[in-house]
């Protein structure tokens, strides 16, 4: 039971991070029907940006309050990563709109390879550790010498995720941009006829997705304290799995899927084998796509002849 609760907490933390990345996949798929393969690497880039900004803020500007520094890093990383999202869409995807269906996917794979190697060349191939931050934990309860604890990091991660998701939900449901975005998702041509700037909406979708991936990147860095150039691929695929599991195109589905994937991974590592935890995630992806392609909360795709 103790182990179970502890793993539940760990799983939800990890799941929050996956959920944040998954939103980027699901939004982009919803609006232009492409798997943004480079999204995992955007997440990795944001982690690096956060790492360097954190070092800059703490060592050079001499900000001593870790919380304040992290808040600044979070906002700045979101902005800078959003720029990456915009630039990638503008250079690699927008010229391909209306091209044949595989073109954006191949282009995205190219961007993914480029980003990983760009960071490797720019920052070196070694793992980059951060100075320890947000140490300490609440002890929830203790039995037979096994303490179930909720660390400050985990608290912060779940809190930040919840707050940002609420803000994001407001943006999509209640603002004019959100309306335009949902309209484009339903029918791009009709939306354009009604005076919505479709290109701009798509760009903003990428920007939003990248900003949320940046949040995930910062939280990932805080949680694991280390990042390397190859860290984009596997979390990226897992987040995509989360998006598919929740029903691709559905925002609550992405978060739900993220939490489920996080929980499955943690429990699998705790109770079965840690070596095969990625196999578990990839198997879920395959099984969901094969047997339940519309996911938990997604709409079933209607095939028109």
């Amino acid at each position: 039971m103790d182990v179970f609760v502890q793993q539940l907490i760990n799983g939800l933390t990890l799941g929050s991070i996956y959920g944040l990345i998954a939103i980027g996949y699901t939004m982009v798929f919803g609006i232009i029907g492409m798997v943004n393969f480079a999204h995992g690497d955007v997440f990795m880039v944001s982690s690096f940006v956060a790492l360097i900004l954190f070092l800059l803020v703490t060592t050079w500007l001499g900000v001593s309050s870790i919380a304040l520094a992290l808040l600044f890093v979070l906002v700045a990383t979101m902005l800078l990563t959003a720029l990456w999202g915009y630039a990638i869409e503008r250079v690699a995807y927008r010229p391909l709109r209306g091209s044949f269906r595989l073109a954006p996917l191949i282009s995205a794979i190219g961007v993914s390879i480029f980003l990983a190697n760009f960071v490797q060349v720019a920052q070196g191939a070694r793992n980059k550790p951060t100075p320890p931050m947000l140490g300490g934990a609440f002890t929830l309860f203790e039995r037979d010498g096994y303490a179930v604890s909720l660390s400050y990091k985990q608290c912060a991660i779940m809190l930040v995720t919840a707050v940002l998701l609420a803000g994001f939900w407001y943006l999509v449901q209640k603002t004019s941009f959100g309306r335009a975005q949902r309209a484009c998702e339903q029918d791009r041509r009709m939306a354009a006829l009604l005076g919505i700037d479709v290109d701009r909406t798509i760009s903003l979708t990428f920007v939003l997705g990248a900003a949320l991936a940046a949040v995930a990147g910062v939280l990932y860095l805080v949680y694991y304290g280390v990042v390397s150039f190859s860290d984009g691929f596997v979390p990226g695929v897992k987040a995509f799995t989360a998006a598919v599991l929740g029903g691709i195109g559905s925002l609550p589905g992405a978060v739900l899927g993220g939490l489920i994937i996080g929980l499955v991974e943690t429990f699998w590592s705790a109770y079965f084998s840690i070596e095969y935890k990625d196999v578990a995630a990839f198997s879920i992806l395959a099984i969901v796509l094969i047997f339940m392609p519309s996911g938990l909360l997604g709409r079933a795709e209607v095939e028109k002849v």
Binding site: W84, L102, I106, I109, G110, N117, V121, A122, Q123, V279
Partner: protein, 459 residues
């Protein structure tokens, strides 16, 4: 890039302003990932080294590139509006010229003569090793590209996990030869058989999937196979891999200096290069076999069924074509050639480890097929030469060191440029290098058509 840019004003001020915006965006992208380099210091904390000069160079490059691109677009636009286009067309030529039929013989002729040419050019057999090794590498990818072309180019099934079958082939030979002592020539068909079986096994569950979903599931399968190879240490020796795999023999005669070796048997003086040249012709033969089988199959009912499936799965089913069998044969045959190539890889390297079969390999093979123009055999060969041989050139660009300083290693930029090239190709030539196709089945005259008429990856 888009037409929208060209329509927007092309005055000097507009162009400069636009380019300045690009430079500014580049500045934003470079902060802080380029502007500060992190290095591990003695105390295992990270040190920051500012590199603002590099950032400035990047921004200047972005500015210059954008100006050049805008000027080029403006000129193209001017030329276009000057040219008189027939009404009712969008300026694209739909019915292209007849495909030059010289491509394949030329390629085969060059490939056959390559070792000889390399030897003559470099002076000795030993000195030509680099070029022949490069030839082997390129031909391996040509073969993989042709194998995947059956699945992606002909049947229109987007497979991102092709490397799994390559791995199955390589491990089949490695395990069969090291544990049972079977020779290469026994293992080669077995490796193809196993890979083909895996193709069917993995093909079954994905029969209903299409397009992107199919791509992602095959990617997942590819990764699962790699992870199993890493973690099933009892069988595969994990990430350490399997080494001392027996070398290839000349149909039973080993390439050794001994009495019963290849050199003595044929009355030649011993040279380690004999084995390399033999491997070269072996992979050439395997690649040509792949090509021949593909070309012949295209004319058979099954080949036509593949292409019909690529064009329209629903119509295909309505006409009574068994899509299950059609898809599975495509998977199985593609996988079989992947298995052959894998088994060749193992015999050439003498060592296999899971790291050789990561997702990047799948992406490279798929990129070769797509860049070649899906379904075009010659295009795949050209793309393989460009994608595998091109980065090799970087190794030889030593003079760049004098430009960028001593610490500059062009080889580091291989994959970076590779990724950029993939994007650039999609933006400029999404239909690949050879963008016209000759239909396999026609009524009346056989004409080459534009690749834009060929569907892709929906089946």
């Amino acid at each position: 890039m888009g037409e929208a840019n060209a329509v927007r004003g092309s005055s000097t001020a507009a162009i400069l302003g636009d380019a300045a915006l690009w430079a500014l965006a580049t500045l934003g992208l470079c902060i802080p990932i380029v502007s500060y380099r992190t290095d591990l210091s003695q105390t295992s904390a990270l040190d920051l080294t500012p590199r603002w000069g590099l950032v400035a160079a990047f921004c200047a490059a972005a500015f210059a590139l954008r100006v050049a691109q805008r000027l080029w677009l403006a000129r193209r636009e001017a030329r276009r509006s000057a040219a008189v286009l027939p009404k009712g067309t969008d300026g694209r030529v739909a019915v292209a010229r007849r495909r030059p039929s010289l491509g394949v013989p030329l390629f085969v002729g060059f490939a056959l003569a390559m070792p000889l040419v390399a030897t003559l050019a470099t002076g000795s057999l030993g000195a030509s090793r680099y070029w022949i090794d490069l030839g082997i590498l390129i031909l391996t990818y040509v073969m993989l590209g042709w194998g995947l072309n059956i699945v992606v180019g002909l049947a229109g099934l987007l497979d991102l996990g092709y490397v799994a079958f390559y791995a199955v082939g390589a491990y089949s030979y490695a395990l069969l030869s090291t544990t049972f002592g079977l020779s290469f020539w026994v293992c080669l068909p077995l490796a193809g058989l196993f890979a083909g079986l895996w193709g069917i096994l993995l093909g079954f569950p994905v029969l209903r999937l299409r397009g992107d979903y199919l791509a992602i599931v095959t990617l997942a399968f590819g990764e699962i196979i790699r992870l199993v190879l890493i973690n099933w240490t009892d069988l595969t020796n994990g990430s350490a891999g399997i080494d001392s795999i027996p070398r290839a023999t000349f149909f039973g005669i080993p390439f050794t200096a001994g009495e019963d070796g290849f050199a003595k048997t044929f009355g030649l003086s011993f040279d380690a290069m004999h084995r390399i040249v033999f491997l070269y012709y072996l992979i050439l033969a395997l690649a040509l076999l792949t090509n021949l089988v593909t070309l012949r199959l295209r004319r058979l009912p099954i080949g036509r069924a593949w292409e019909a499936l690529r064009e329209d799965e629903i119509a295909c089913r309505s006409l009574g074509i068994d899509t299950t069998v059609t898809k599975l044969t495509a998977f199985a045959l593609g996988a079989m050639f992947g298995g052959f190539a894998g088994s060749f890889f193992a015999v050439r390297q003498g060592f296999v480890s899971p790291e050789s079969f990561n997702f990047l390999e799948s992406a490279i093979i798929l990129a070769i097929v797509v860049l070649g123009g899906m379904g075009s055999q010659v295009g795949v060969a050209i793309a393989a030469v460009a994608m595998v041989g091109g980065p090799e050139l970087l190794r030889n660009l030593g003079f760049l060191k004098s430009v960028f300083g001593e610490g500059f290693d062009p080889n580091e930029y291989r994959l970076l440029l590779f990724g950029l090239a993939m994007v650039a190709m999609m933006v400029w030539r999404p239909r690949g290098l050879v963008s016209q196709r000759t239909p396999s089945a026609t009524l009346g005259q056989r004409k080459a058509i534009s690749g834009a008429f060929v569907r892709e990856g929906h089946g």
